[in-house]
Symmetry: C2
Subunit: 212 residues, 2 copies
């Protein structure tokens, strides 16, 4: 794969298609027209046809999409069966929740280690997995072929950790810190979750954009 | 305010400017050129000049920006002093963390109530605030002029709660559920945090976009 160019905005919508098609599949539906899918997702039918045309011939004029085929194909493109070896660093409140909240296996990841620099946390269990000392991160990554790191640590800790992680083979980051990884390491994959920024954007909208 | 049109992509960048300028201010810096700010933020200098031109004359050719003035002005535009009355619904793992993790006062919000439908949680404390029964949400919103709700609940619960919240005066949602609020209530402000979608986007990138 990887040869066909798909625009970033389409990729950002793929998880949403995948989610919707999953609901429909679980509800026992077999086919759906682009019009109906559009109505349910709040997109236009032509937008949906354009997006899904990126992924081959799953729709037939006047006949709609085969839900299961399309679901599987989008899952394949997203890589939900990749099982990338993944560690989570920072087992405070946020890290603990992020470790518990997500079904990693279904999203293409295999969470195999949780780390914290606080030695007092070492050995405590999260979801049947022990919290390990941050001193062991480098060896653990190399020994286990870790590809992805989830950073639930502050800016300074992220800044300190990322070089080690990259040199130990990590090529993807789910980054909850404000450290700008992509700026320093343009060759790795980064998804940032900036909760504070999201909340401030909401504040702007409530202040300026509501008509209530 | 609210008369001047500012594009969505600029607004999305404002919290980041605010954050950076805050660092610089705390570090004791007084002025900064657009070139230097650009280098630090990983943007182009012309992008920064364009963005900040939306907010009046804070830069002078060859002289740079006054950091404190610009920080304050962007804070004002974002509404960091708004203190919107806010409740959080869903005090499970995620809700608990979201209640604790954020400094709401500094982001324009005043978190005054936490709710969960599980009666067994009622009265338990989070950060000095009692968890209340979801049955009391409507009265609480009306009595306290609640403007914003943080939804840390599943799809079905969000679907059930939103109509009540909107009719009780809520005009903004920080939405961690997959329920599409904006589709049903286009007039309210919504910021979605879709952790699963973010993670799946990362999987796609690791699979297709890394050159390592």
């Amino acid at each position: 794969m990887g040869s066909k160019y798909v625009s970033n905005s389409v990729i950002k919508r793929l998880p949403r298609y995948y989610r919707f098609l999953g609901y429909l599949k679980d509800a026992g539906m077999v086919r759906i027209s682009s019009r109906e899918l559009a109505d349910r997702m709040g997109l236009s039918a032509s937008q949906i046809r354009q997006d899904l045309n990126n992924f081959g011939g799953f729709g037939q004029q006047g006949y709609g999409y085969n839900i299961e085929s399309l679901y599987k194909e989008i899952g394949k493109i997203l890589g939900v069966d990749s099982g990338f070896k993944t560690i989570l660093i920072g087992a405070g409140n946020l890290g603990h929740t992020i470790a518990l909240q997500i079904d990693y296996q279904k999203r293409g990841f295999d969470l195999i280690g949780i780390f914290d620099k606080k030695e007092s946390l070492s050995g405590q269990m999260i979801n049947g997995m022990p919290i390990r000392s941050s001193r062991d991160i480098e060896d653990f990554c190399k020994d286990n072929g870790v590809k992805v790191a989830i950073l639930c640590v502050p800016y300074e800790a992220a800044e300190e950790l990322v070089p080690t992680l990259v040199s130990s083979g990590v090529i993807g980051f789910w980054n909850f810190s404000h450290y700008n990884i992509k700026e320093e390491y343009p060759q790795v994959a980064v998804e940032n979750v900036h909760l504070n920024d999201s909340l401030m954007t909401l504040c702007y909208q409530v202040l300026h954009d509501t008509n209530l």
